[in-house]
Subunit: 419 residues, 2 copies
């Protein structure tokens, strides 16, 4: 090997992350990430795992015993739910209203499901009746719905779907990666059998850990498909014929690791566990309802602000997520040049888009730690300047003024926690 | 939800982790874990990903372009390699000499391979001839071998196996989780097609990121099985009939994310990336050969030390890993009581064991940051005290004296980096 020079310690540039996620983490979450490691079965470690489960039960609003973390990004949580709940040949229904609906369908296909999709144009959500009609027609084993799809900024109402699934004997799964913590989510009240998320959106942490919660019905199904490694097999352990086609994502084994059996599976990602714990703690210290209200307030301010700059907002505003807005790139402005100027000169990141919206809209987030007044106002002031320098005609101060009006009329403009 | 009181910030107890891993991370790795996040396609992020790939090429001793990280624990790396390289029905051969051989077989079974194993008693490794004989008999598509199996502390020699695999047209995969960085590993010179690891052993980081390297032949096979998500599909993308049965572990997609196409897949776990980068940087700053020599020195000192305490070492000493030793629990000493006393009173963790060795041996590690003199001597002095208090007859100072003799005769006793 040639002895190339080695780089120095990691030294990220200053960034205010106002895209669709990942976003800047809560300072206290970053501090938690650097806490000292302990052993896998240290009483402190197992107590921290149990404590984190209890915190996430409150985040998810559930009594589900089976509430834990998957060691991987949010997509790992989705796949763990899918491969553990779907057997090859099972029918799966996915209402697709953006990129992440396609992802659910894709992951179900990989799990060898018979996948059925229904679609609405990007920028819309499904009426509940359309989902029920498809359930009656397809008779799926599992319904998989994204709650908030950042690709379109739409939030699918889920509150009436659980009852419909229960009526038709369908397992109800939702991917709440982009919405949890900044939009209402009630795992038990809404009748969810499984839900997964990530840390890098409203929960204000780094990507790499996926909170998941499972109903008793889901756990029963998973338990019926168990397979135990030869290396740690105990008397009485038997393999199901229909075993889960993944070891890493076998939720039965993962439950035995997190549960009282503490049966060795992977080595829990300790630093990510610390980070995930702190994300939940910050949210619960603020209060779930307060955090959602804060996301709504700063999301409303950003929405008013971009409109105040004369920008056209994409999608059905009545079903927009609190924490992200998509705006049409103005005629004559090079979208990527504007994003680069914001990033390079102002240290502010906003997002580009996927699929049919690629090159047509920017996506601007206000989530987690960055759902706060100074972040919203800095972004609007900087965006105004950049647009003007790129030749667009924008009202001077129009963005900040409109946002200020929202703040002025709001009952309170409290700051995020986790500082 | 009941408003239960919330716990405080994470505050782990002081621990010196001298088990088989996870071990205490290098201080500089913990610092890297708390660095500020940047966006997924920030030029700094993509440059850091590329830089980390280059660092790991040097760690693996490879020119493989396809050298990157899997976002999950070491087991995620194993599964990514297996599901991407094995099609259902493929024959896979696994020489099993400990628990983690069983794990490779188990993961291959989940990937629907036709799995063949050969076994030696725990505490031994395979002669190369036994592996070749099995290759000729089984004619596998892939050979999967653990390099260092911490369950037995044995290190399987791999240097002659690549040539045998090449002769018989067999893909050669090794799981180097527990050995990489503290024992020799030469991906190119030894003819590896795939190798995976984790951070939580000799690399001195937290669990949660799995370095992987793939030969051109492996990449070609993976490319022939590609499937692209509908949500990000571009013209010319086509699905193979024999697509990989996992989205999260589809190495083709992961390569397109890490490679020049930068095609969106998961959201890279930024903090784990920072940590993995620092693990490699610390290793390379010390020098690969120096780090291995340090692991050997302190492993030898620990080996001499436990023998100096009159303890019997398990397994074939000629094939022991540098970084972990298994010692028989002395007659009349309650193994778990001794481990608890070490942990609770001295803050030192040593390991228990799995399977046939459960309750019979302790496993003591000297790896990563903890492959150092003070850690070895503290452990030996504390273990001596605990054994005596539990009624065992141990020579006073026998462990430390024997370790000191090793240090005294060694050319140098340098300290680890990353402070």
């Amino acid at each position: 090997m040639t002895a190339l020079p080695l780089p120095g310690p990691i030294a990220p540039p200053p960034r205010l992350l106002m895209g669709p996620g990942p976003i800047s983490a809560y300072p206290s979450v970053l501090r938690a990430m650097s806490a000292e490691l302990v052993g896998q079965y240290d009483p402190f470690m197992t107590a921290t795992m149990s404590e984190t489960q209890e915190l996430y039960r409150r985040v998810w609003a559930t009594q589900n015993d089976a509430t834990l973390l998957i060691d991987g990004t949010s997509r790992a949580g989705i796949e763990a739910a899918m491969v553990s709940l779907i057997s090859p040949g099972d029918r799966v229904l996915v209402p697709v209203f953006g990129r992440f609906g396609h992802l659910l369908a894709e992951i179900a296909e990989r799990a060898m499901a018979e996948v059925h999709t229904i679609e609405v144009p990007w920028g819309q959500v499904f009426p509940v009746s359309a989902i029920e009609e498809a359930i009656v027609r397809v008779k799926p084993h599992l319904l998989g719905v994204v709650q908030g799809d950042t690709s379109t900024t739409m939030l699918q109402p889920l509150d009436e779907i659980g009852a419909i699934c229960a009526k038709h004997g369908v397992l109800f799964y939702s991917d709440a990666t982009a919405s949890l913590g900044g939009n209402p989510f009630e795992a038990d009240a809404w009748g969810l059998d499984a839900a997964t998320a990530g840390l890098q959106k409203c929960l204000g942490g780094p990507s790499g850990s996926a909170p998941i919660t499972l109903s008793e019905r889901a756990v029963e199904l998973i338990r019926s498909r168990s397979k135990v490694e030869a290396g740690i097999r105990e008397e009485g352990d038997q393999d199901a014929a229909d075993f889960i086609r993944s070891n890493y994502f076998d939720l039965g084994m993962i439950l035995d690791y997190w549960g009282p059996r503490r049966l060795n599976h992977h080595t829990e990602a300790t630093s990510m566990l610390y980070g995930a714990r702190e994300c939940a703690r910050v949210l619960l210290l603020e209060g779930r309802e307060n955090a959602i209200a804060r996301h709504r307030l700063h999301g409303d301010a950003m929405l008013a602000g971009v409109r105040g700059l004369g920008l056209v907002v994409f999608g059905d505003a009545a079903h927009k997520m609190t924490n992200v807005v998509a705006v049409a790139i103005p005629e004559g402005v090079a979208g990527d040049a504007a994003r680069s100027a914001l990033l390079d000169d102002f240290g502010i990141e906003i997002g580009t888009s996927f699929g049919p919206l690629h090159g047509k809209v920017w996506r601007i987030g206000t989530m987690g730690y960055n759902a706060r007044k100074d972040a919203v106002l800095q972004t609007l002031a900087s965006l105004e300047t950049v647009l003007r320098r790129l030749g667009a005609s924008v009202p001077a101060g129009g963005g900040v003024d409109a946002a200020m009006d929202v703040y002025g009329s709001a009952p309170s403009a409290h700051a995020p926690g986790g500082a």
